[in-house]
C-alpha cells in the first residue's frame, strides 16, 4: 500500500478537503429549508474557499492569499449579521425560519 499520500500532507490534500467542504455547503444551500442552516452552509462554502486561498498562499510562498482571506472573513461576518437579522424578523412574523417565507416577497 502506498502510504506516501497519507503521510506526506501536501497541497492536494488541502484542495480536496476544500472541495469537499464546498460541495457539502452547496448541497446545504440547495436542499435545506431552514434559514439558519442555509446561513451556516454559506459560511461553510466561504470557509472552504478561505482554505484554498491559504493553501495556495503557503504553497507559492506569497501573502496575497492571506490578505484575501481577511476580506472574506469580514464579508462573512457582515453577511451573517444581515442574514441573522433577516432570520429574526422572519421568525417574529411567522414563528418559523423557513426559507419559503422569503418567496412571499416575490413581486
Amino acid at each position: 500500500m502506498n502510504t506516501e499520500f497519507i503521510t506526506n500532507i501536501g497541497l492536494t490534500h488541502y484542495l480536496v478537503l476544500a472541495a469537499l467542504l464546498f460541495v457539502i455547503g452547496m448541497a446545504g444551500v440547495l436542499v435545506r429549508r431552514n434559514v439558519i442552516v442555509l446561513l451556516m452552509s454559506i459560511e461553510l462554502m466561504l470557509n472552504s474557499v478561505n482554505l484554498t486561498f491559504v493553501a495556495f498562499s503557503k504553497y507559492l510562498g506569497i501573502l496575497d492569499g492571506h490578505i484575501m482571506v481577511f476580506f472574506v472573513m469580514t464579508i462573512a461576518a457582515a453577511e451573517a449579521a444581515v442574514g441573522l437579522a433577516l432570520a429574526v424578523s422572519i421568525f417574529k412574523r411567522f414563528n418559523e425560519v423557513n426559507i419559503r417565507f422569503f418567496e412571499h416577497l416575490k413581486g
Binding site: M26, V29, L30, V31, I99, F102, E103, K106
Partner: protein, 643 residues
Amino acid sequence: MNHSLLMAILILAPFVGFLINGARYKKHSGNVAGSIATVAVAISFISAILLVVDLISMPAEGRRIAVSFFEWMAIDKFKVNAGFVVDQISAIMILVITGVGTLIHLFSIGYMHHDKGVAKYFAYLNLFIFNMLLLVLGDSLLVMFVGWEGVGLCSYLLIGFWFTDKEKAAAGMKAFITNRIGDAAFLLGMFVLFITFGTLNFSELNALAPTVAESTWLGALTLGTLFLFIGATGKSAQIPLYVWLPDAMAGPTPVSALIHAATMVTAGVYMIVRLNPLFIMAPNTMMVIAIIGAATAVFAATIGITQNDIKKVLAYSTVSQLGYMFLAVGVGAFGAAMFHLMTHAFFKALMFLGSGSVIHGMHEEQDIRKMGGLKKYMPITHITFVMGWLAIIGTPLFSGFFSKDEILAYAFHSPMGSPILWAAGVVGATLTAFYMTRLMALTFWGKSRVSPDVHPHESSAIMTIPLIILAILSVFAGWIGVPHVIGEHLGHMPNFWEHWLHPMISPIPGWTAIDHTTEWVLMGCSVGLATVSAIVAYQFYVKSPETPKKIAESIKPVYNLVNNKYFVDEAYFGGIINPLINLSKNTWYYIDVNFIDKMTFWAGDLVRGMGSFVRSVQTGNMQQYAMYIGIGVVVALSFVIMR
C-alpha cells in the same frame, strides 16, 4: 402710397376684422361686429381702388403690380413665393369682391341683427373675403389653391351657420365634400402642369404655353387643363358637381349673395381666364368646357322653372348663368366670360339681397306660392328687383344684355363654337326670361296670397341702400363693354372692356371679324325669344294663374321629373354614395375587423404563449436560482476545461 403696403392692407384688412370679431365673438353686439367687419372690407375696397387707379395710370403694355412678400417654400427647383399680382384680370375681381362685399356686409347688419351668433357670422364673412382675395391675387396656382380651399371652408361654415338645424348642417357638408372632389382634380391638374412646365407661376406658365394647339386627348396640356376644369366644376357648380349649390341656400341670404352668386362660384371661370393661353391651346378641353357650360345653362334653367322657394329659383339661375360663363370660356370668349362674371355679380347679388329683403319682410317665409302682390308693401325692394330682372333676362341696354349677347355672338361665330351651342344658349336665355318673370310675378305682382297673420313690411335703410347701389350698377355696368355694332350708333362709344382686357387675352385661332348683320340677327333672335317668353310667363302667372297648373297637369310625368330636379341627387345616392358606403362598411368588417384585427390578436397571443413558457423558469424560489447558478458555473467551467 407704396404698392406692397397697399397690397398688404388690401389683403389683411378683412383678416384683421376676422381676428377681432372671431376673438370676441361672444362679446360683440350685432351692430358693433357688423361695423367692424364692414369697415374692414371697406378699407380693403379703398386700397383696391387706389391700386387699380395706379394700374390704369401705367402704360397699357406691362400693366401689372406684382408684390412678393416672402419666399413661401423652396424645394429643389420647386420655388413658391407668397406673391400677389394686380393686373387687368385680378383688378376686376378685387373691385367686385371688395365692392359688392362691402355692400353685402352692410346689408347683413340689417339682415342678421336679431341673430345670436352675429359676431361669428361677420368673422366668417371677413375670413371669406380674405381668402377670396388670396384666390384672385395669388401669382401662382399654389397661392390660388390656398384661397381656393379657404373659400371652400368659409362656404361650408356659412352654409351650415345655423347648424342646429340638421338639414342645414348637412347642406354645408354636402357643399364641402362636393367641392373636395373637384379640389382633388384641381391638385392633379397642378401636378400635371408642374411636371410638364416645371412651374406653377401664372405668368411663367402662360409664357411657356405651346404655340401649336394640342389635338390629342391624353396630351399633358389637355389632361392638365381638363383636371383644372373638373376642379372648376366643383367650385363653380357645373354638371356634374353642381348639386351642392341649390342646397347651399340653407345659409343666410347675404351669404348666398356674396359667396354663391357674386364671388366664390365664379372662381372657376376666373381660374380659366387666368390661364387662357394654356386653355386655348387645348381645343379638346375647350370643347368639353363649352358643352358642359351650355348643357348646365339649359339644364339648370329648366329646373329653375319648377322651383317654389325664392332662393332655390335664384340658385338654379346662378348655376345656369355660370353655365353661360363656361360656354363663353369654352368658345374662347374669355373677355366676354369676365364681362358676364362682373355683370352677373351685380345683378345676382342684387336679386339675392332683394330676396333677403323679401324673406326678412315676410318673417322668414321663402315659399313664393305664399307671396304675391308684395309690390305695394316693399316699393324699394320691388323697384330694385325689377332692375335685376331686366338685367338678367337681357333687356337691351341693361348690363346683362351686353354680356349675354356677346357670349351668344361668340358661341355662334367663334371657330370653337357652333350654332348648336348658340341655340342652347338662346334656349337658356328664353328659359331664364320665363322663370325670372315667373319669380317676379309670383312674388311681387298679381294678387296677394300672403297669409293674413303675416304683415309684410319694407326693410330698413341699411338694407335698401345696398339694393339701390347694386340696382344702379346692374343697369349701367354693361355700358363699359358696349359692342362695336351698337356702340357706333351711340356716338361711336368705344368698348372699354375689350381694350382693358386685350393684352391678357389670347386671340382665338382662326377668328374672323363678325359680320354686323349676323350680329344684329343673333341679337334680335335672343331678345325676341326672351321677350316672348317673359310675356308668356306674365300672362300665365299674373293674368291667368290657372293655366300653368293645367299645363303641369297635362304633362305630369315630365313636370314631376323636372320638379324633382331630374332625380340627380337620388341617382348620386343610388349610384355612387350608397355603394361607396356599403363598400366601406364591408371593407371595415371583412378586412379590418376580421383580418387585420385578428392578425394582430394572433401575433399578440403568440408572444404571450412564448412568454408564459419562459416565465416558468422564474419561480421566485431562491434555492432554484442558486441551482441555476451552480449549473451555470459547472457548464462554464467544463467548457473551459474541455477545450
